[in-house]
Symmetry: C2
Subunit: 400 residues, 2 copies
């Protein structure tokens, strides 16, 4: 590519086609900015603006109140002794793995772990052992599976795993495993537990100390109404001096934390997290209503012949559906497996991945009962349309 | 901290006090957003918005044109075979070090390297050997110093360094060392060279192939008019299959690049880089004028008794000044060493670190001749004011 004027015209400002649609994308419902965050973006958008008054340590900046946010508000919010900002949940996971494990050590992952947990372990050059889950339709993780996996690791390698991880909830079914019980099983073997809360911190109440977990990671762009990439990392020192290890300082640059490369979210992303924080705290207190909305929505879709997999009744806005009837339609319509995406798009609904009909996930978080009703109605209309078309094409087939 | 309403009021939207000031902060002059980038921020601000149409690989997204940007425009711009987006220059450096070196290997750094290069090497558990520079006032890096450092490493450890790094320019003096010659010296020993271009890519023309370097890293928030954190990483495979190593894929998740944890700048930050890119490309073509502005400004400050350290005549907008006369004023005025910061602030000028008077750095990048003239005039006024005060207080001392 030659960077002439014609080529450069492909860049510059680009519109976002989905911006005014009703959004049920599990990746996106928890990351929609609050009004304060949208203003903060413009106010602090310039690169390194947050560093106007930095004395050398990002999380100790007093104006704007980064220090108060990172060292007082966040630890309280997460229920930890120490908290830091990172580039995201995956970067938090890698930081923990890289800091507390040695190459070749084993990490235990739940069988429903997000791919980024796998890749973080691979980047840290760790061996992975997975705790199995039950199959369709529950996808249940038995806490005792952690004990088994730890014992198998010890018997095969002669060394306990460096870390165990639980995805809370998992990113496919939205299942919330028994984190407290799993932490207790891991601690019987002195194995610390990391809770991947990319889909929970910022949506629902989560307290690391209450659950007894050692590390908690969250995602700003996924669940804390922040412009990303940004995440949080909380460390609970009840079972070990973990924060000393993870936040160890450079021997040569005394105020720089090695594992964070000195500083992380050094820009407007952090100002959006701070801007949204008051609303984020408040919305976690509204979690029961969000769960009620999710259950209501699930019931309505099931009444249309879809099947909600995972925990029932469901405890999270992220839900996975099996839809044999939508799949059946896809096998006989012109647009094939893209029909559902296109039908929803034409009804101003975004978030079910293009090409999926038989199995898909969605999120009802902060969509609200009115929009959820409209989505249910839209599904009804789609079924009606294609049942009707089916009947018409049946008539035509008789004609021929 | 209890997260009650009173505590939460400390967060939310916060104004940026310096937003309308003339900015000469070296960290910030190259990161000021273009108008297109400012619009992109609002358009794409929601978390994970860039992933609307992601098929599983961030840099292969076609709408918006991420694939075209990362795989066509950026390699051309950087002069490399492969390019990727990262969270910033330091994260790019860590990715290269972590991928191509083994724990305990040595990395050669220039004596003027940014602290983040040191911390990245420490995070990757590498040994650091520095190439010395000449002292005050030049701070010159002799290319042959790389040969010496490599030979010393081999003779002491029995193994060649895994990597050499040059900061181009360094972040204190804005010196541009002879990168081409250094690359050639390193390659005599088969040691790859990484060029840290946090202060050059996006400001001035830099071409990795032309300079013969193997890796190039840049910073979006520092020099590419982007909202950060965001950076670029370019790999030139002329001297080895480096991109295969750095961008190796997960054995279990076949389309995910391990070293990037699957994906990096998965948000509006990337859309601001894309939005600013046309202007950024164009401004690098205006580099000669920027250098002319820097030299003009340096002459004017030297006429006031300040001394510009580093290369002379200077070749970069980032400049370091020694100011014995400002220091002298600071020793006898009420506000002490904060007087300069406060005087400049009262004249709407931001960017010289609070508390510095004897030695400080600044940047003239895109400040423009008119604002630079105003800054020179402001320095003149400050000198006049304090020389005058000095005279008045001398008179008072006679009275007593």
């Amino acid at each position: 590519m030659t960077l002439d004027d014609a080529a450069l015209k492909n860049f510059g400002f680009i519109e976002r086609p989905t911006k005014n649609m009703i959004n049920i994308d599990p990746l996106q419902t928890g990351g929609i900015l609050t009004e304060d965050a949208r203003r903060a973006l413009v106010e602090w958008g310039d690169g390194y603006s947050i560093c106007d008054n930095c004395g050398g340590v990002l999380d100790l900046i007093k104006k704007p109140p980064v220090q108060e946010f990172v060292h007082e508000a966040l630890p309280e919010f997460l229920g930890v002794d120490q908290a830091r900002i990172t580039h995201g949940a995956r970067e938090s996971k890698f930081a923990v793995m890289h800091a507390i494990a040695q190459e070749g050590d084993t990490v235990i992952l739940d069988g429903l772990a997000h791919y980024s947990s796998v890749v973080a372990a691979q980047r840290a050059r760790l061996e992975i052992r997975k705790v199995p889950h039950s199959e369709h339709p529950d996808y249940y993780i038995d806490p005792e599976g952690y004990g088994t996996a730890i014992e198998e690791t010890i018997s095969e390698t002669g060394k306990a795993p460096a870390l165990a991880l639980l995805t809370y909830p998992d990113g496919n079914y939205g299942n919330l495993a028994d984190a407290k019980k799993i932490a207790s099983v891991c601690h019987e073997y002195d194995v610390p537990l990391l809770l991947n809360c990319a889909y929970s911190v910022g949506r629902m109440p989560v307290d690391a100390k209450e659950l007894g977990v050692d590390f908690i990671v969250g995602s700003g762009h996924k669940s804390m109404a922040s412009c990303g990439p940004i995440g949080v990392l909380g460390v609970n020192d009840d079972n070990g001096d973990y924060s000393d290890i993870i936040f160890r300082k450079s021997p040569t640059n005394k105020n720089k934390e090695i594992e964070l490369l000195g500083c992380t979210a050094r820009s407007a992303t952090l100002m959006t997290m701070i801007a949204s924080f008051p609303e984020v705290v408040k919305r976690t207190r509204n979690w029961d209503n969000e769960v009620a909305d999710a259950r209501w929505f699930s019931e309505k879709l099931e009444a249309l012949g879809l099947i909600q997999l995972g925990q029932r009744p469901h405890n999270h806005d992220l839900m996975f559906f099996e839809a044999p009837n939508l799949y059946e339609i896809s096998t006989r319509v012109k647009k094939g497996r893209y029909f559902l995406y296109k039908e929803l798009k034409s009804r101003n609904i975004h978030g079910i991945k293009a090409g999926l009909t038989k199995f898909f996930k969605l999120s009802t978080f902060q969509v609200g009962r009115e929009n959820l009703s409209y989505i249910v109605y839209s599904f009804e209309q789609i079924f009606k349309k294609f049942e009707c078309w089916s009947f018409i094409s049946f008539l035509f087939s008789i004609d021929h």
